[in-house]
Symmetry: C2
Subunit: 268 residues, 2 copies
């Protein structure tokens, strides 16, 4: 059972995990140093706990005590209770859901672990935007993909904004960072995956022309928002695939093209 603490003011040092949530660069540093991430909103907090992640502490406005009673019951972490106005002073933004938890970051998985049991993998190169990472992971999870691999420069899936956009899909979907990005095509090949690089190149195969063999293990590779996939991946992938588009439209954004690709390559 969580121990409850009524907190008097925003300056209480026990709230230090929750300060300045709007400051992206400060939070990046702080969350990595302290090995934590922030779950925001009743639903997301519950999902994080259900996924087996451990709360370091919770910060709740009084009205959330009841609906999160089961979560509080199941943890030994301290729960700080504070009115919503003061919570906003601490975090620096309007916490419209009034329920926060500082969660311990789970141990990172290795790409090998993630690939071992997967049949469908989404590989993301340099998606630096937290909203896009969150949206991509939500789509990938919804469409039955098993795992996500990230290039070193991809944004953090456990950053508050990513978690929020992903609706918590980042907790249940296994993912790993590939440190040696240059060797990634070989890594996939060694694990028995056929790689499909999403591309705008003129000689790409239209998505609807691609048929998957029964039992085939599929890796879909998507590039960054601006320049798209690097030349290295374009050349190294087994296939280059494009989503045929109407004239005059630049491209779909990465969340939309991922959704369409994952739909086409979904496990059946």
């Amino acid at each position: 059972m969580a121990e409850l603490f009524q907190i008097a003011g925003a300056g209480d040092p026990r709230l230090r995990d929750y300060t300045d949530l709007r400051d992206v660069s400060l939070r990046k540093l702080l969350e990595t140093e302290r090995g934590l991430y922030i779950a925001e909103g009743e639903k997301v907090v519950r999902r994080a706990v259900e996924a087996g992640h451990r709360p370091r502490s919770l910060l709740l406005a009084p009205r959330w005590m009841e609906s999160l009673a089961d979560v509080l019951e199941a943890t030994d972490a301290p729960c700080y209770v504070l009115d919503e106005k003061t919570i906003e002073q601490v975090t620096g933004f309007h916490v419209h859901r009034g329920a926060l938890a500082a969660m311990e970051r789970p141990e990172p998985l290795s790409p090998e672990t993630v690939l071992a049991s997967a049949r469908r993998v989404l590989v993301a190169e340099d998606l630096v935007d937290h909203t896009n990472i969150g949206a991509v992971m939500r789509n990938v999870a919804a469409l039955g993909f098993d795992a996500v691999l990230l290039s070193p420069r991809c944004a953090d899936p456990l950053y508050r904004r990513s978690v929020k956009v992903a609706m918590g899909a980042v907790f249940s979907l296994p993912y790993a960072r590939i440190e040696d990005w240059y060797a990634a095509p070989d890594l996939l090949r060694e694990h028995g995956f056929t790689s499909y690089a999403m591309s705008l190149a003129a000689d790409s195969v239209p998505l609807d022309a691609i048929e998957i063999a029964p039992g085939e293990r599929v890796a879909v590779i998507v590039g960054s928002e601006g320049p798209g996939l690097t030349e290295h991946w374009q050349q190294a992938a087994d296939h280059r695939v494009t989503i045929p588009m109407a004239a005059g439209i630049d491209s779909l954004n990465v969340a939309a093209s991922t959704a369409i690709a994952c739909w086409h390559f979904r496990p059946r």
Copy 2:
């Protein structure tokens, strides 16, 4: 040729179309009253003009004069030139692209006009979020749909945020609002469209089981972000369709499900 005006300060009354761009409710009122909308960024300004929309005025930082020379050449609207810092004072936010135009809103189209020549229509019910409207219209346009119909409560596709997310697709894609939303199913039927309502209902047909007859005119109906499609539409549509999803995931967001549906129903 646009007449150039060097503007001295943020208080100049000629800049009134550009004030307080961050204030959503004020801007809504103001843009409707004055019959204008704001195009932001070199690319979007050019697309708006190429789509035949008329600038009332432009507001540019000096460095954009050259790259927009063709646009300035082709218009009689005044062009106000101002340093980027003062532009930010006027608009109230960081205009990272330093090029704005106040455009005359085009005359609204009627649903009948829009439907007359379309084969693929996306119908949106109560998408109140500007980002979602923009993302949906970008996806719809990219996948070769011909038009969009909006319920009365849908967000404004010409609001700055929608335009930006849509990458200008709102200029070239015909759209109309349906005033009598209750009669919308009949309207589509009268125009020879088969309607497919995207739904989470258990008895919906999986999307991949749907085959379209040659020459069929297709209307895809998507519901609002929270509650999904209203019961009225669920009952009135010719078919209820669902995107099969992995266990434990609530749903795809509306931009992703629209992308997948439009991909499935794309004209071939």
